[in-house]
């Protein structure tokens, strides 16, 4: 459970606040907001790249401000909206990088690391990508790999920054279906920021909306929601 209290998000100036919020495991939350409303800053703050302006953020009983970068990497994983691939970097090697928080200072991978990664490859049915050069893959394939890498980090929380932004419709469905199954099986907490409202309505459990007027984050259950209301709140 990821809980927020009296949290202010912003870079130099305050962009929005979270008076109180509790995010549960086993759910996909869709973060909706106007461009520039602070979605990326929110992720950056959670990941420890930029500080929260104020507030208490806890995961279970752990105060997030007390843990270092390494511990955070074992707790929260980040999937960027685009991975361009690296020449000579195979799919499997890319996923293995997700094990970095656990490897020793030499970066040596243990038997455990290899087994875990191979299991993830099996589950996601991406055996055909394991030895393929990431530079030669399609955007959709790379996106799936990035999610696999995040899984390899064995985290409780995964943040995805507009995961379907660069994907075609079929791949978008594929990614969201994948996220759904992961979330349920592994009891993770997934937050994705997105502009694709229709798909979010179909696949995510709840919405986190940055109210454009009050600049406050509001949680809305999916069951009761209509697209118009979302647009209203977020975009005025």
């Amino acid at each position: 459970m990821l809980s927020f209290k009296d949290t202010e998000i912003g870079f130099k100036e305050k962009l929005f606040t979270i008076p109180t919020l509790e995010l549960e495991n086993g759910k996909i939350y869709s973060l909706i907001g106007k461009n520039g409303s602070g979605k990326s800053t929110f992720f950056q703050s959670l990941l420890g790249l930029t500080p929260f302006l104020s507030g208490k953020i806890r995961f279970d009983n752990l105060d997030l401000s007390t843990i270092n970068q390494l511990e955070k990497a074992k707790l929260i994983a980040f999937v960027a909206s685009k991975f361009d691939g690296v020449q000579h970097l195979s799919g499997r090697d890319y996923i293995l990088m997700g094990r970095s928080p656990y490897t020793n200072f030499l970066g040596k991978h243990t038997e455990n690391d290899f087994q875990l990664v191979d299991l993830i490859i099996q589950e996601l049915k991406i055996e055909h990508l394991a030895q393929k050069d990431t530079l030669k893959m399609s955007d959709g394939e790379r996106q799936i790999l990035s999610i696999a890498k995040a899984l390899a980090q064995e985290c409780k929380i995964i943040l995805l920054d507009e995961p379907s932004a660069f994907l075609d419709y079929a791949n978008r469905i594929k990614v969201l279906t994948l996220l759904n199954s992961i979330v349920k099986e592994k009891n993770m907490c997934v937050i994705q920021s997105s502009h694709d409202l229709e798909l979010c309505l179909e696949y995510s459990s709840s919405f986190l909306v940055i109210d454009n007027k009050s600049k406050v984050l509001i949680e809305l259950e999916n069951k009761l929601l209509r697209k118009e209301k979302l647009i209203d709140l977020a975009f005025d």
Partner: protein, 329 residues
């Protein structure tokens, strides 16, 4: 480690022994292992063959290996750090900076700068300073080719300054120094090899803790940080180690071009991996092999004509650079 990589590394190692043998063997008489080992461990200075092995052949071969390996490692670190396959210690002007600092320090006249330690110190400092300079420019210049051009301008600039210093200075020491503007593997003495090897080993030790950061850096700084790496402290160490190798080699061999640029690219093409453990060993081996090969060509052609070291490395290296550009851009 994948099996094909292991096999290739083994092959390269064997090839290295073979070329090293050819190299030490070349000269007015062939390699006699007994005499050779005696010259190193039980030197009799009245034996002419021993003098030749110990003072002429062995330093030249060992320097070819160390210089080839060192420059390639330096280039590999720079290429990963700047995410630029065209980076290298000489094209980015780093070896020129090294030479400049050595020239200036000799001119100050302090006796310290005439010693091995002093020269190496100046060279390392120069390499580090110019690496930081290139790092500074890289924040403003996003294009890979533009950074390369800035490096070349830095190189030209320092060469001009060194030329002026040479012409106007009366220092005999400086005139002697200028001779290795061509790059040379034959300017080191047996006694200096210990110090050189010592500094080289220090570099290798630091390299071990850089393997993991380098591997993660291929994904970019942000991703590396999110995977738990304290990237800012490692960035400085990467630049420092790269400067260490580049400066060390430049201090004793003068500026040698193209090796640091070409070899890491050859290595990546050969091993098809981004695993820096393999890349570092592979680059070191290929670099040593390439420089031995270049020097062997110089040796074999010597009766017909004298080719400077940088001439050969450019002849071989420049086409490789063109090939990289064609593939990448």
């Amino acid at each position: 480690m994948k099996n094909p990589s292991k096999k290739i590394l083994l092959f390269l190692t064997l090839l290295l022994f073979f070329l090293a043998y050819l190299h030490v063997n070349n000269g007015s008489f062939g390699l006699d292992f007994d005499v050779f080992f005696k010259s190193i461990f039980n030197f009799d200075e009245n034996q002419q063959q021993e003098i030749i092995f110990r003072e002429i052949r062995f330093p030249r071969t060992l320097m070819a290996i160390i210089a080839g390996a060192g420059l390639s490692i330096s280039g590999l670190l720079l290429q990963t750090f700047f995410k630029n396959p065209l980076a290298g210690p000489s094209v980015l002007g780093i070896t020129s900076g090294s030479s400049l600092f050595v020239a200036i320090s000799i001119l100050t006249g302090f006796e310290f700068f005439n010693t091995d330690f002093g020269v190496t110190f100046s060279a390392l400092l120069g390499a580090f300073a110019f690496s930081l300079l290139i790092l500074f420019f890289s924040y403003f210049v996003k294009s890979a080719v533009s950074l390369l051009l800035i490096g070349m301008m830095l190189g030209s600039f320092t060469s001009a300054i060194i030329q002026i210093l040479q012409l106007t200075s009366h220092s005999n020491q400086l005139k002697v120094f200028t001779l290795w503007g061509f790059g040379s593997l034959q300017q080191t003495n047996f006694n200096q090899l210990f110090f050189i090897f010592f500094v080289f080993i220090i570099g290798l030790i630091f390299l071990t803790i850089l393997i993991k950061p380098l591997n993660l850096l291929v994904l970019g700084e942000k991703q590396a940080q999110l995977l738990g790496l304290n990237i800012s402290s490692f960035k400085i160490i990467i630049i420092a180690v790269s400067s260490l190798f580049a400066g060390l080699i430049t201090a004793y061999c003068g500026p040698i071009s193209f090796i640091g640029l070409a070899v890491p690219n050859i290595c990546k093409q050969l091993f098809k991996t981004q695993n820096h453990f393999i890349l570092i060993i592979g680059s070191a081996l290929i670099g040593a092999l390439l420089l031995l090969f270049c020097d062997l060509i110089i040796m074999y052609i010597e009766p017909i004509m004298l080719i400077p070291l940088n001439g050969i490395t450019a002849l071989i290296g420049a086409p490789i650079v063109v090939w990289i550009i064609l593939k990448k851009f």
